[in-house]
Point group: C2
Chain length 186, copies 2
DNA sequence: TCATGCTATGAAACTAGTTGCATATCAACT
DNA sequence: AGTTGATATGCAACTAGTTTCATAGCATGA
């Protein structure tokens, strides 16, 4: 039970704003995706289980000009399950940093492989540059006046600042990586 | 094929130093674990598959005072597979940041829940403080003189610096989180 | 002698997550 | 009329990862 967290990420997202599986999938590509990734298939499957367990309730919405959708809201048992989970210890993070593996692996590749890695790091760096810009734009848009925020917004803001800090750290480190790769002896 | 990376993390680790499944598991708790986590069961299973595929070869080692072990080394097909993988594009990271979910979830919990979260963040912070100390001690031990390093060591060092940067960023952010949690209105 | 603990490997069952495919509505453009 | 693209949901098969349990050698200390 402890580690099963997609349910809980969905509960938080639905408490912030009820929505359909499709909308959740888009949020997981945007804001929630900063700290929890999930595909739409996984989201639909988990939503179905959560509905069976009465953690959420669904409401059929007829839409003009679009297919119907099912809007989910958090029910009392779901909210209780979230509270229980919130008070459990945070599990140690499981890190999967593929680029770090490739950097150490570069010791066992030739000059062509290292050149390829440098290009790849540059592309990767550009992606993170884009992500940082997106976060900063989102911060301007959603949290323009720090004094005017309610508690929920303050908590969302501090998580966003974590994303911004992370991206800045990554960019600085990637510069260090590029410098190291350019200055290898062979 | 692209995302299957535990094999490749194992290949890098075995190229840096041949070893048994048990030794690999310990490395994955230590140095490699900085950027790729894995349990011993997963490592044993993957090693078996890699042996079947002739990516690695095993050698039975009789040990005095300890159970026998199987020392694995990377074979030519494994090295070729690593080279192929190294030149593939880096997959986007899949982020799973449970603490961030709990922080946003705190908006839907009461004062007691927030107090529990503050304690949890403090404990989490202490863990990261320990991790940073361990990294810094490892840096002193393994890379005392930056001018004397060969390419493999330089690459290992830049990855370790990434870990150090990450831990420092996390600690600063956790201070921000604690400050935010202490200053919520209700 | 017995308990504890580290070394060392592994099976079996389960849970989580990914990939590929399928279906359907409707808008906008060609 | 046909294509493209966004919205919207879902199944089936597969792959990856976790958890629980089991086994065994040998050292150390109570």
């Amino acid at each position: 039970m402890a580690g099963v967290a997609l349910e809980h990420a969905i509960l938080v997202s639905l408490l912030e704003q009820p929505g359909s599986g499709y909308e959740l999938a888009r949020r997981f590509d945007r804001s929630i995706g900063r700290f929890w990734t999930a595909t739409h298939q996984q989201i639909y499957r988990v939503l179905k289980r959560m509905e069976t367990d009465a953690w959420v309730t669904a409401e059929e919405i007829d839409q003009d000009g679009r297919p119907d959708k099912r809007r989910y809201s958090v029910a009392t048992p779901g909210r209780a399950a979230l509270t229980t989970w919130l008070r459990e210890p945070v599990q140690p993070e499981t890190v999967r940093h593929e680029l770090a593996v490739k950097i150490r692996g570069a010791a066992f590749d030739d000059a062509a492989g290292r050149a390829a890695l440098i290009s790849e790091v540059e592309r990767y760096r550009a992606d993170h540059e884009t992500t940082l810009s997106r976060y900063l734009a989102g911060e301007q848009r959603d949290f323009p006046d720090a004094a005017e925020l309610d508690d929920g917004q303050r908590l969302q803001h501090v998580v966003l600042r974590g994303g911004i800090d992370y991206e800045r750290m990554v960019l600085a480190w990637l510069d260090d990586v590029l410098d190291t790769l350019h200055n290898l002896s062979r």
